[in-house]
C-alpha cells in the first residue's frame, strides 16, 4: 500500500508547478494589476521560472524508481530526463515571453503555460491510458487557449478555433481507440493491454483501435495527414505559444507516443521492412513517416511566410522522429529523445528570432529577413546556427540527431537493408530541406537590406536566451555524448 504522503512525495514536481501557477496568478491579479506590462511579465515569468527550477532540482536529486498502482504513476531516470527537458523548455518559453506585448492578461497566460506543463509532467510519467488521456487533454486545452490569447488578432482566434475543432476530433478518435483497447483487454495499463491483445493475427477491433490511436497521436505530433492545424497555429498564435507548442509539447507527445505504441501494442507491430511488409502499427507508421517527410519538406519550399515555413518543416521533422517509433528499439528511443530535445532547442531559437524581426517589421514574410546579417549580426549568426542544425549540417546538434536516428533505424531490422527505403527518403528530403533553409539564410546574408531599414533592436533578455540556445546547439553538436550518455544511462537503468 502506498500512503498519501508517499504519493505527494512522488508527484512533488507536479505539485510545485501547480502551486507556482496559483502564486503567479494571485500575485498578478492582486499586487501587480496596475503596473506596466513589462514589469508584470518579468515578475510572472520570474516566479514561474523559479518554480520550474525548483521542480528540476527535485527531479535531479531524486533517484527513486517507482511504479504506483500498475503504472498510473511512474518515476524512473528516463521519465525524469524527459520531465527535466520539458521544464527547461518551459523556462526558455517564459523568458522569451517577457518582452511580449500581445496581452494584458499576463497572470492567466503564465498560468496556462504552467498548467500545460503540469499536464505534460503527468503525461510522460504514466503508463495508464486513463491518466494519459486526462493529462493529454489538460495539455491540449491549455494549448488551444494559448493559441487564441492574442485577442486583438482575429487570425489568432481563427487558428485556435481550427486547432480546437481538429483537436476535439482527434481526441474523440484517441478516446475511441483507448476504449476499444480497454474493452479488448479489460485493463488500462499499457503492458497488461499488450499482454492480452497479443495475437498471431490482428482482430478487426484491434486494427481499428490501433488506427484510431495513431490518428489521435498523429494529430498531436502534427504528422501528415493530420497536420491541418499546424500552419495556421504557427502563423497566427502569439510567439511564446508557438515556441511552447513546437518544443515542449513535441517532446512530451513523442515520448508518450513511443511508450503507447511500443509498450501498449507490443506484439502487433507487423513489419515495414522492404519486401517483408506485414500489417501492424509499424507498417502504418512507416507510411505516415514517409509521407510526412515528403509532404512537409516539399510544401515548405513554396512558403513565403517564415512561420508557415517552420510549420511545414515541423511536419517534416515529425516524419523523421516517427522513424524512431517505427524502429522501436532502446537505441531508437535514445535517438528520438536526443533528436526531439535538440530539435526543440533549435526551433525555440528560430522562433525567438522570428519574433524579434516580426515585432520590428510587423510581418514574418521572408523578405523581412533581407540583409538581417547587417542589421543584427549576432541574431543572424544564431539564426544561421539554428537553421543549419535543423537541416542537419555538422557539427551542430541536428546533424548528430539525424545520424543517430538513421543509424538506430538501420540497426533495427535483422536485414540491414530492411528499413533502408525509409532512410533513403529521409536523407533525400533532408537535401530538400537544406534548399529552403538556405533560401532563408540567403536572404539574411546575401541580400542587401532595404535602404530605409534601421538596425533591429533586440531586447537584451531575448538576445541572451538566443545566444545561449545557439551555444547549446553548437556544444551538443561538438560533444553529443554530454546529452547522449545521460539518455543512454537513464534508459539502461529504467530497463526499457
Amino acid at each position: 500500500m502506498i500512503s498519501y504522503s508517499q504519493l505527494l512525495q512522488l508527484v512533488m514536481p507536479e505539485v510545485i508547478i501547480a502551486i507556482t501557477a496559483l502564486i503567479v496568478l494571485a500575485a498578478d491579479l492582486l499586487l501587480l494589476r496596475n503596473h506596466p506590462t513589462r514589469l508584470r511579465f518579468s515578475v510572472a515569468a520570474g516566479l514561474a521560472s523559479i518554480g520550474c527550477t525548483g521542480a528540476i532540482l527535485r527531479l535531479l536529486l531524486s533517484s527513486e524508481q517507482t511504479n504506483v498502482l500498475d503504472g498510473m504513476l511512474l518515476t524512473n531516470p528516463i521519465v525524469h530526463f524527459v520531465q527535466v527537458a520539458l521544464l527547461v523548455f518551459t523556462i526558455i518559453t517564459l523568458l522569451l515571453s517577457v518582452d511580449s506585448t500581445f496581452t494584458e492578461h499576463i497572470g492567466e497566460f503564465v498560468l496556462l503555460i504552467l498548467l500545460a506543463t503540469t499536464g505534460m509532467l503527468f503525461l510522460v510519467g504514466s503508463q495508464n491510458i486513463l491518466i494519459i488521456f486526462i493529462s493529454l487533454e489538460l495539455l491540449s486545452l491549455s494549448l488551444y487557449i494559448l493559441t487564441a490569447f492574442d485577442k486583438r488578432s482575429p487570425q489568432s482566434s481563427e487558428a485556435a478555433l481550427k486547432y480546437f475543432l481538429f483537436g476535439g476530433m482527434s481526441t474523440a478518435f484517441l478516446l475511441f481507440g483507448f476504449s476499444l483497447l480497454y474493452g479488448l483487454s479489460n485493463s488500462t495499463n499499457l503492458s497488461q493491454i499488450a499482454a492480452t491483445i497479443h495475437a498471431p493475427f490482428l482482430p478487426p477491433l484491434l486494427i481499428i483501435a490501433i488506427g484510431t490511436t495513431i490518428i489521435g497521436f498523429g494529430f498531436k505530433v502534427s504528422a501528415f495527414p493530420f497536420h491541418f492545424w499546424a500552419p495556421d497555429v504557427y502563423q497566427s498564435a502569439p510567439i511564446p505559444a508557438v515556441a511552447f507548442i513546437s518544443s515542449a509539447s513535441k517532446v512530451a507527445s513523442f515520448f508518450i507516443f513511443f511508450q503507447v505504441m511500443t509498450v501498449g501494442m507490443a506484439g502487433s507491430e507487423g513489419s515495414a521492412a522492404w519486401r517483408h511488409f506485414a500489417g501492424g502499427w509499424v507498417s502504418g507508421l512507416a507510411v505516415i513517416a514517409a509521407l510526412s517527410m515528403l509532404f512537409g519538406n516539399l510544401v515548405a519550399i513554396v512558403q513565403s511566410s517564415m512561420r508557415r515555413l517552420l510549420a511545414y518543416s515541423a511536419i517534416a521533422h515529425a516524419g523523421y522522429m516517427l522513424l524512431a517509433i517505427v524502429s522501436h528499439t532502446q537505441w531508437s528511443l535514445a535517438a528520438l529523445l536526443y533528436y526531439v530535445v535538440t530539435y526543440g532547442l533549435a526551433t525555440l531559437g528560430t522562433i525567438a528570432v522570428v519574433g524579434v524581426v516580426e515585432k520590428q517589421t510587423d510581418s514574418d514574410h521572408l523578405s523581412c529577413f533581407e540583409g538581417l546579417s547587417r542589421r543584427a549580426p549576432t541574431l543572424s549568426l544564431c539564426l544561421f546556427i539554428f537553421l543549419l542544425s535543423l537541416s542537419g549540417i555538422p557539427p551542430l546538434a541536428g546533424f548528430f540527431g539525424k545520424f543517430f536516428l538513421f543509424s538506430s533505424t538501420l540497426a533495427a531490422t535483422h536485414e540491414s537493408d530492411g528499413l533502408l527505403w525509409l532512410i533513403v527518403i529521409a536523407i533525400a528530403t533532408s537535401a530538400v530541406s537544406l534548399y529552403y533553409y538556405l533560401q532563408v539564410l540567403k536572404r539574411v546574408y546575401v541580400a542587401n537590406p532595404p535602404s530605409e531599414a534601421d538596425d533591429i533592436r533586440v531586447p537584451v533578455l531575448t538576445q541572451a536566451v538566443v545566444v545561449l540556445l545557439a551555444g547549446t546547439v553548437v556544444l551538443l553538436g561538438c560533444a553529443p555524448h554530454l546529452l547522449l550518455q545521460w539518455i543512454l544511462e537513464a534508459i539502461h537503468i529504467a530497463g526499457l
Binding site: 555538422p394 543509424s407 538501420l410 533502408l420 536523407i427 538556405l438 546574408y445 553529443p480 555524448h481
Partner: protein, 500 residues
C-alpha cells in the same frame, strides 16, 4: 603538429569575424598569415615525413558510446593533398587581394572552408571525415552567392544541393557499413579490414563512390561544376577546382574503394558489355574526359572553357583510380595534385588577371583587346599554364597523365585509346582559347591601354603555382616517394587483392 592546420584555419576564421567594421587591410593580412602558417605546417610535415606510411596524429574517444573517435592521421596521400591545400590557400588569398566588399566575412568563410578541407584529408574516422566534408558545403555556398558573378545564386544553390545529395549518399553507405560491422567503430582502418559480405559491397560501393564522385565531377553528375566555377569569385573557383573537387576524388579512393573493394569485382553477368562497377565507372570517366574536352572546345565564355577542362581532367583521376594498378592509382593521386595547381592557376588568370580588368569573358570580345601587349604577364602565364594543362613534358600534368595512361593501357586498352582522343582535343581547346583571348588580331590597342598592370600579389601567386607544377614535372619523385608506400600499406590490401 599537422592537426594545427585545421585549428589555425578555424581560429583565423573566428578572429576575422571579430574584427571591427571596415578593417579591410588587417583582414587580408591576417588571412594571409593564417594561410601561410597552415602551409608552413603542411610543408614541414611533408618534408619530415619521408616514408609516407600512416602516422597517427591524435586519437581520442569522441562519442565513446558509439565508438566514434577524434582520429587524425596522415599517410603519403593525405600529405600530398594537405600540401596542395596549403599552396592553394595562399595563392587564393593573393589572387583575392582586391576584394573590398565585406572583406572580413569573405576571408572568414574562406578560412572556414580551408580548415574543413584540411580536416577531411586528415580524418581517419569516417564520422569525423563526414563532419568536415559537410562543413565545406556552407562556406562554399556563401562565397559564391555573396561574392560571385554570373547567375551566382543559382550556381551556389546548385552546387550546394549537388554536394548535399552526394554527401547524403555517402552518409547512407557509411551508416550502413557502421551498422553492418556491429556499430562499434568508425575507424577507416578497422572498417577496411572488416569483411563486408559481397552482396552488401555490391550496392554500398556504387552508392558511396558516386556520392563522392559527384563532387569530383564524374560525368553525368558534373553539371554543377562549370556553372559553379563560372559563378564563383576567383578565389572560390580556385578552391573549388583546386581542392574541393579533390575531396570527392579522395573520398572515392579512401572510403569507397578501400572499404568495399569487392564491389569493384565482376557482377557475374553483362549489361551492354559492362561486367562490373569498375567497367561502368571507367567508362563514365572516359566519357567525362572526351565530353569535357569537346564541350570546352566550343565555349564562348573563357571561364566555361576552363570549367569544362576541369571536368575533363577530373575524368583522368577517376580513370586512374579505376585502373586498380599501382601506377594508375599513383598517377591519379599526382593528377589530383597537378590539377589542383593548374586549375587554380587557370582560374586565377581568367578570373583575376583578365576578367577583373576587362570586365568581359567573351573570347570574341577579348581578342581585339590585344591583351598580349597590354598585360603580357597574363599572356605568358596562360601559355605556360596551358602547356602544363595539355600535358607537355616538364610539367606536372605530363607525369600524371602518362602514369594514368600506362595504368589504363594495362587495364582497359580500348578506353586508353579513347583517352588519347580526349588529350588531342585538350590541346586544341587550350590552343583555341589562347589564340582567341591573347593573340588575336588587335582592333584598336590605344583604347585598352588603361588596363591596370598585374599587381605584385598576382605575380607572386602565379609564380608559386607555375613553379610547383614545373618542380613536380621535372622531379615527380617528390610526390611518388610518399604515395607509393602509402598505397602499399595494409589499408589498401583489399584493393591489391582485388586486382593490381
Amino acid at each position: 603538429m599537422l592537426a594545427w592546420t585545421i585549428y589555425i584555419s578555424f581560429f583565423g576564421a573566428l578572429t576575422l569575424l571579430l574584427l571591427p567594421k571596415g578593417s579591410t587591410a588587417v583582414a587580408r593580412i591576417l588571412a594571409l598569415l593564417t594561410a601561410t602558417a597552415g602551409f608552413e605546417i603542411a610543408l614541414t610535415a611533408f618534408l619530415q615525413h619521408r616514408t609516407g606510411e600512416l602516422q597517427t596524429i591524435t586519437r581520442v574517444p569522441w562519442i565513446p558510446s558509439l565508438g566514434i573517435e577524434y582520429h587524425l592521421a596522415a599517410d603519403g596521400i593525405s600529405l600530398c593533398l594537405i600540401l596542395l591545400t596549403g599552396i592553394i590557400a595562399i595563392t587564393g588569398i593573393l589572387f583575392s587581394w582586391n576584394i573590398v566588399t565585406r572583406t572580413k566575412e569573405f576571408f572568414s568563410f574562406y578560412l572556414l572552408l580551408i580548415g574543413s578541407v584540411y580536416g577531411v584529408f586528415l580524418s581517419y574516422d569516417l564520422f569525423l571525415l563526414f563532419v568536415f566534408y559537410e562543413i565545406v558545403i556552407i562556406p562554399k555556398y556563401f562565397l559564391i552567392a555573396i561574392w560571385g558573378s554570373t547567375r551566382r545564386e543559382y550556381g551556389a544553390m546548385k552546387l550546394a544541393l549537388y554536394s548535399f545529395i552526394g554527401s547524403a549518399m555517402v552518409l547512407i553507405g557509411v551508416i550502413a557499413a557502421y551498422v553492418e560491422a556491429g556499430a562499434k567503430t568508425m575507424s577507416v582502418n578497422d572498417l577496411a579490414g572488416f569483411p563486408f559480405p559481397l552482396h552488401f559491397q555490391m550496392w554500398a560501393f556504387p552508392l558511396v563512390f558516386v556520392g563522392f564522385a559527384i563532387l569530383a565531377g564524374l560525368w553525368p553528375f558534373h553539371t554543377w561544376a562549370p556553372t559553379g566555377h563560372v559563378a564563383a569569385p576567383t578565389a572560390a573557383s580556385m578552391l573549388l577546382a583546386g581542392v574541393v573537387m579533390k575531396l570527392g576524388a579522395y573520398g572515392c579512393l579512401r572510403v569507397a574503394m578501400t572499404l568495399f573493394p569487392l564491389g569493384l569485382g565482376p557482377w557475374g553477368f553483362h549489361v551492354l558489355g559492362l561486367a562490373s562497377w569498375r567497367d561502368v565507372f571507367s567508362l563514365l570517366a572516359v566519357i567525362g574526359i572526351v565530353y569535357g574536352a569537346m564541350v570546352a572546345l566550343v565555349q564562348k565564355d573563357f571561364k566555361f572553357v576552363i570549367g569544362y577542362s576541369s571536368v575533363s581532367h577530373m575524368g583522368f583521376i577517376l580513370l586512374g583510380l579505376m585502373t586498380l594498378n599501382q601506377i594508375g592509382i599513383s598517377g591519379a593521386v599526382i593528377q589530383m595534385f597537378s590539377h589542383g595547381i593548374l586549375a587554380g592557376l587557370l582560374f586565377a588568370i581568367v578570373g583575376r588577371m583578365v576578367y577583373d580588368r576587362t570586365h568581359t569573358r567573351e573570347l570574341t570580345a577579348l581578342g581585339p583587346m590585344n591583351l598580349n601587349k597590354v598585360i603580357p604577364f597574363s599572356a605568358a602565364t596562360f601559355v605556360l599554364a596551358g602547356m602544363a594543362s595539355m600535358g607537355l613534358p616538364g610539367f606536372s600534368g605530363f607525369v600524371a597523365e602518362l602514369m594514368i595512361l600506362i595504368g589504363a593501357w594495362h587495364a582497359f586498352p580500348i578506353l586508353a585509346v579513347c583517352v588519347g582522343v580526349g588529350i588531342v582535343i585538350g590541346v586544341v581547346y587550350i590552343w583555341r582559347a589562347m589564340q582567341k583571348a591573347f593573340f588575336a588580331e588587335p582592333d584598336d590597342a590605344s583604347t585598352q591601354s588603361s588596363l591596370f598592370p598585374i599587381s605584385f600579389p598576382e605575380r607572386l601567386g602565379a609564380l608559386i603555382l607555375i613553379g610547383t607544377s614545373i618542380a613536380i614535372g621535372l622531379y615527380p619523385q617528390i610526390l611518388l616517394k610518399v604515395i607509393t608506400p602509402a598505397l602499399n600499406s595494409p589499408m589498401f590490401e583489399g584493393l591489391r587483392k582485388g586486382g593490381w
